[in-house]
Assembly symmetry: C2
């Protein structure tokens, strides 16, 4: 039994009037609004007139939430100005979510360690402005370094392999580097990256940036410090790294095997290209949303497997979406402990804190509820098949951005649902999990214990 | 921390050489085998020759697991002998699952109460043969009474409303009473109960039997004893009753609203008939599997909502399938506790035992895994759309028996998957949950605690 704690959730009262989640939600909404206004300007759109409000709102939300779903073609509908606005929104969205989730993560971990030594009151620390500044600087530095390296690689390739003039090659390199490190999936080609499907010099740097952005800031920081001493890695780092490798291998095998002889996707390719494209697709489906085959041609079973990859997503406190690898891993280890008949849920030699079980379950249940009800609503509105609609809602919620091409054709109400899904999917899991983890629990008194039958 | 317990899981060693779940699995498999052999006899099939092994195996599995999926028409393919065999298998399957789950439930509850007063060693009790005998007698008595009442009602209606001769009316009454109380969904009409869609004198007694069988033996026993003193009801009874009402109302509203003007289903009916059919469909979709409209004509969104109803299913230790209302309710109350920020998960003024959280999660995760992988496998094998395949696998796993009519056309491998799903779905959740609940947990030592980031 636990009493009402005097100290509020690790954040000093005077510095934050709002909960950080509220600040970030307002910040995201504000950025989307500004982006929407900029995109409705006539100079943002090719040809006469400006974009409609809905086109601008959808694009801005998709960019700030680093999703990549589009209802107008990024390459041909927007001018250079419009594309720069999109790129900046992606960068702001990426910075925002990484910083926010890292601050929240720090607060959660500090709260836990405080609980463990609750008597040492002098050691009470909270997350102050200095910490936030430090995190912002770290996030910006790592993002710019990663984006810079990938931008140079892509620029060189666009110059050498595709004879683009220097200026355009740099622009393409920078845009796609930012879009990939931030897991946004926006591309400056009307067919996304299908034109580069068999070019590893384009595909692999983009995959590298996507994976790096997707494992999350805390893991990147730890790898920089302790790359060669895995014994020092936290449970978070281990789960994210192992989970990433498992999902990449399983995803590549699943997609490549199912699409191997599909004439609309991998069928016409040689076998090394099949594997390259299968791997690319597995990397992108987890969270980034680029595509090097036409997703509309994928087999239904591939779509279903992709839904699972999207739902799980990437690492926490990164640019990836979904419920996060760690959340999924917690459920897996609970299951494993039950199957093996163990009292505690142990993960790589550490005991999993019990509070985390319920956090993970709650995030998953809410995510399932949101996705299912959105899908049902879209089914009522349209005649599109379940596999495509589920792929679309999963893509929006997990801020992935892949689509079988139905986005633009949805009714306005359907597009509004996707906008809400992107926003909720981007901020919801981390905000909700942190709200649970940081809250001071209250118990009036304990009820007597009882249990129903299960199964 | 908990030591290895000396006493094994509540069952005395000498009386049971196998775990009860193993005995029941062998029993079910044996009954299916005998039924299969009987159904391959030429006297079981109309016309020359006998049924194929696959037809007989599928039908026997569907009957013993009280599912109701069929690949040949019960009404016209089987002779009276074959139909009697099916009826007997339904009855044996229903008795079997109710007794098994009740015995298991008793053992789980006794183990829990023993733990609560672990010092009182003299009070140690286990589930012995007398208990099992008592439960069997109780199950048989309640089943026969309920089936008898419904059989009489149906027989009268078939005589009076449809001018069936006495013998045939009794046969129809008995068969459909057994099929409905045991939630089997087999019917002796080629269009199932579509011909009686607007006849409340047929539909409502069948719904009553289905609901009664589906709330489970422990709830029926408690209602008989303490109908008028709800304060004495266990958490199990409360959850099942409240959950049943909520699901029936929500299901009726959802289905009726979505199908209201669908020309293939409720469209042509008057509004009172729309509501009757919608209610009937909501009752049947949860677990029994009769249908009074053509399921193939249902809207995709209705199929998706039906999937949810099927997945949840009915009460534990009854003839219903699915993960069970209680399992779903546990997840719901965990979510609710997290949203409200409470330390303990409280259900109707009782604290939910913590072990139950992990039991419920484990059952749900395994169920999702089994259903998803079966669905993906069927998607690879066929060109059928996801909404129909998911409806089919959910129907098999939750032993519901509704179908959009694709069962007979599936390849043999697909039908084998459905057979396995019916068997696993019938015994899996209760066997797995009980194995978890009854096992003596072992802990070598405790690891230090740590947590990853969630969301
Ligand atoms: K994305
Ligand atoms: K059934």
């Amino acid at each position: 039994m636990q009493k009402r704690a005097a100290r509020p959730n690790g954040f000093p009262r005077k510095r934050f009037r709002f909960h950080p989640a509220q600040i970030v939600a307002f910040g995201f909404a504000g950025t989307i609004l500004i982006g929407t206004l900029l995109l409705t300007l006539p100079i943002a759109k090719v040809g006469p007139g400006g974009a409609t409000f809905m086109e601008a709102l959808f694009t801005a939300t998709s960019a700030v939430c680093v999703t990549g779903l589009i209802i107008v073609d990024t390459a041909t509908y927007w001018t250079g100005f419009g594309q720069v606005v999109i790129m900046l929104m992606i960068q702001i969205g990426g910075f925002g979510i990484m910083t926010f989730a890292s601050v929240i993560g720090l607060a959660v971990l500090r709260k836990l360690s405080l609980r463990a030594r609750v008597t040492a009151a002098s050691e009470v620390k909270s997350v102050g402005l200095e910490d936030v500044k430090g995190l912002v600087v770290g996030v910006v530095r790592i993002s710019l370094i990663a984006e810079g390296v990938v931008a140079v690689m892509l620029t060189l390739r666009f110059m050498i392999g595709y004879e683009e003039p220097l200026g355009r090659a740099i622009w393409l390199g920078v845009f796609h580097a930012i879009s990939s490190f931030n897991n946004a999936g926006f591309a400056l080609f009307s067919d996304n990256l299908i034109g580069f499907a068999t070019d590893p010099w384009i595909c692999l740097p983009i995959c590298g940036a996507v994976i790096l952005g997707g494992i999350g800031f805390p893991v990147i920081v730890q790898l920089r410090k302790h790359l060669r001493s895995p014994l020092k890695w936290t449970m978070n780092t281990r789960l994210v790294l192992v989970g990433t490798i498992v999902l990449l291998v399983a995803g590549t095998v699943y997609i490549t095997a199912l699409e191997w002889s599909n004439p609309k996707t991998l069928g016409p390719l040689d076998w090394p290209d099949k594997i390259l494209v299968g791997f690319f697709q597995a990397v992108q489906t987890r969270t980034a949303g680029f595509n090097s085959v036409d997703n509309a041609g994928l087999d239904s079973a591939t779509l279903l497997g992709s839904d699972v990859l999207m739902f799980i997503g990437g690492g926490p406190a990164g640019t990836a979406g979904g419920i996060k690898i760690t959340t999924f891993a917690v459920l897996f280890f609970i299951l494993w402990a039950e199957v093996r008949g163990e009292v505690a849920v142990n993960v790589f030699g550490k005991r999993l804190s019990r509070a985390v079980h319920r956090e993970a379950i709650t995030v998953v249940l809410l995510a399932v509820f949101v996705i299912m009800s959105s899908t049902a609503a879209l089914m009522v509105m349209t005649d599109i098949s379940l596999d495509r609609l589920l792929y679309e809602t999963m893509s929006a919620f997990a801020t992935v951005g892949v689509s079988t091409g139905i986005t633009a054709g949805l009714p306005v109400a359907g597009q509004v649902i996707l906008i809400l899904l992107m926003f909720i999917g981007r901020l919801g899991p981390v905000a909700f999990a942190s709200a649970i983890a940081l809250r001071d629990r209250r118990t009036a008194y304990e009820f007597p214990k009882e249990r129903p039958l299960i199964g």
